[in-house]
Symmetry: C2
Subunit: 395 residues, 2 copies
Amino acid sequence: MSSPQLAFSRSEFAERIEKTRKAMEDREVDVLIVSDPSNMAWLTGYDGWSFYVHQCVIVGPDGDPVWFGRDQDRNGARRTCFMSEDDMIGYPDHYVQSDVRHPMDFLAARLEERGWDKTRIGVEMDNYWYTAQAHASLRQHLPNAAFVNANSLVNWQRAVKSDQELLYMRRAARIVERMHQRIFDKVEPGIRKCDLVADIYDASLRFDDDLGFGGDYPAIVPLLPSGIDASAPHLTWSDEPLRLGEGTFFEIAGVYRRYHCPLSRTVFLGKPTETFLNAEKAVLEGMEAGLEMARAGNLCEDVANAFYGVLKKYGITKDNRTGYPIGLSYPPDWGERTMSLRPGDKSVLEENMTFHFMTGLWMEDWGFEITESLVIKEGGPECLANVPRKLFVKG
Amino acid sequence: MSSPQLAFSRSEFAERIEKTRKAMEDREVDVLIVSDPSNMAWLTGYDGWSFYVHQCVIVGPDGDPVWFGRDQDRNGARRTCFMSEDDMIGYPDHYVQSDVRHPMDFLAARLEERGWDKTRIGVEMDNYWYTAQAHASLRQHLPNAAFVNANSLVNWQRAVKSDQELLYMRRAARIVERMHQRIFDKVEPGIRKCDLVADIYDASLRFDDDLGFGGDYPAIVPLLPSGIDASAPHLTWSDEPLRLGEGTFFEIAGVYRRYHCPLSRTVFLGKPTETFLNAEKAVLEGMEAGLEMARAGNLCEDVANAFYGVLKKYGITKDNRTGYPIGLSYPPDWGERTMSLRPGDKSVLEENMTFHFMTGLWMEDWGFEITESLVIKEGGPECLANVPRKLFVKG
């Protein structure tokens, strides 16, 4: 069979694995079980919508990572991973969604075969794809192993992006620019949300002859709540029409080869209320203050405090975090789940870390989002996308 | 604030909760923690893309279910759930993706306040959204509770569909018919996969004036691998063109208000090979044999055995299950994760159960899918969608 079309060079994968092994050493982890699809893809190239069944990548003390998954998905591993087939283990189908046996029972036996059962095994304790039952099964079948919570061990290694990763994120930025342009072209009183979403997908996916590429699916579907529904940050669409006199925020991301560039803008149909004009002023000024602090050497909380400080001046309290790292992602989240832009987070910003500066406001009966995705640099950040930073008014 | 637009009557929610409490009694569960978003929605109406942070619905011994989630998502609960605000608990934002505190620490304290800490607590041990860490936190903070694995307790209650649910699934069927029509209209050698996916989304979403509704997002993105890539069941698209001489299967679902009608078809561009013609014959004949068995009173395995029996005659071995229940779903899976159409599954088919009869083949260097979604009836099944059941040939 033909070899897979890897999105990164073999040497880039080798560097990632080396960084990961170094972090494993620091945490005294001998064998790492990686259940997060983003981490799996980052380490091996594996790409597929198979995370609804148990699967993982195992990083042992030496050699290539080992892909483990449902047997029928082994063909997907062969099509997308750099490793040889010897390092791809498929479990039989009667382990899928069974009451009486668990895929991790099967994995435990394979770990034992490799002599990895008497080691310190790192597991991603709080990852969606590492369930309470998966952990119970491994503990039961590997009584001689010591389990270590290595929840975001790999996620942290992903924080600083390579040139190739930044290239993909800049492509994602071109896509999200196109998506917001389309929204502004199409949005008007009476347009149905489902139709607007069809346009958003269209702009996010189609091959662009000038750019030379097309888009991938986002880890979060488009969010576009209006009016009082925008008080809730995560409602999805209906088939109802947009109305004059309402604000709607559009939280969307462009995606290229699983790399995301999220970017939100808000549209007001009709004459914006004082509330929206005030929010626009506060967020834009606050964002400037935050961007000023978003540079290598500063802390995550510095960005948040600068932003919250300005909001306060405008009488607005935001009681949730104002950003998170971004990059390679699978559903349900395009964040990397390591740092947060919030008071108390003393993580140091480094060059080529990438963040979604998520300056959204979700208040009692309205919501407002104008956000930017950034690359941290020495002097100040690079904003990935170029979409006019303002409240859009139409209709 | 205005009340939520519920997709079901209050009495339907009441029946669901009663069924659930009955099942809890049978399993001696006093308090049920429901982490599966589909189960949460089915019990309360809750609808939002917030499952990337910890959340759940708690069914106590009496009263309405309690929504628990991130404080900023409480507005989403207010917009979509039937319960009063007293039964919506939000946790502060510094619990989100923190190394030092877990949302389940906060939940444990709330359960204690309600006097539910010394009870038998059911948890969905193998659900994506109930992590090893969530379980560890609850166990640590509720030392007097006994934990019971209630993994698919609610999922089983969802198996037999109500009239209103069937109405939604039939609407989803109209949508998937439109999607396959669009694929057939657009597919040709040279069309790029990303462009075809844009068309698939367009057909899945837009408001249809004749039908009177528009579509919702699928729990699995469109899958359309070609040639050897179709040997893998779960690869997503690229921006590469389709080629003459290759088969491509389209695994897609129409969705209306989170209710799914999955349906797959295969397109061959150019003159189909013997392999594809043989697969078509085998699958169509096998499907007829399976449909014949898919009626109330028969067992899940009866359908599978009938299908596998015909395949065998054609020299084809399928070593994975051939279907699963469907209905209300959120990512990452549109299956209900209870029954499987496979040998050994002795679950009895009941009237108004709904299944995706997933007759896909993923072989060494090709793949083939012609599937149907069904409603089980006394005499024989109702196929939800009406899409010509054949290998589509074009180009």
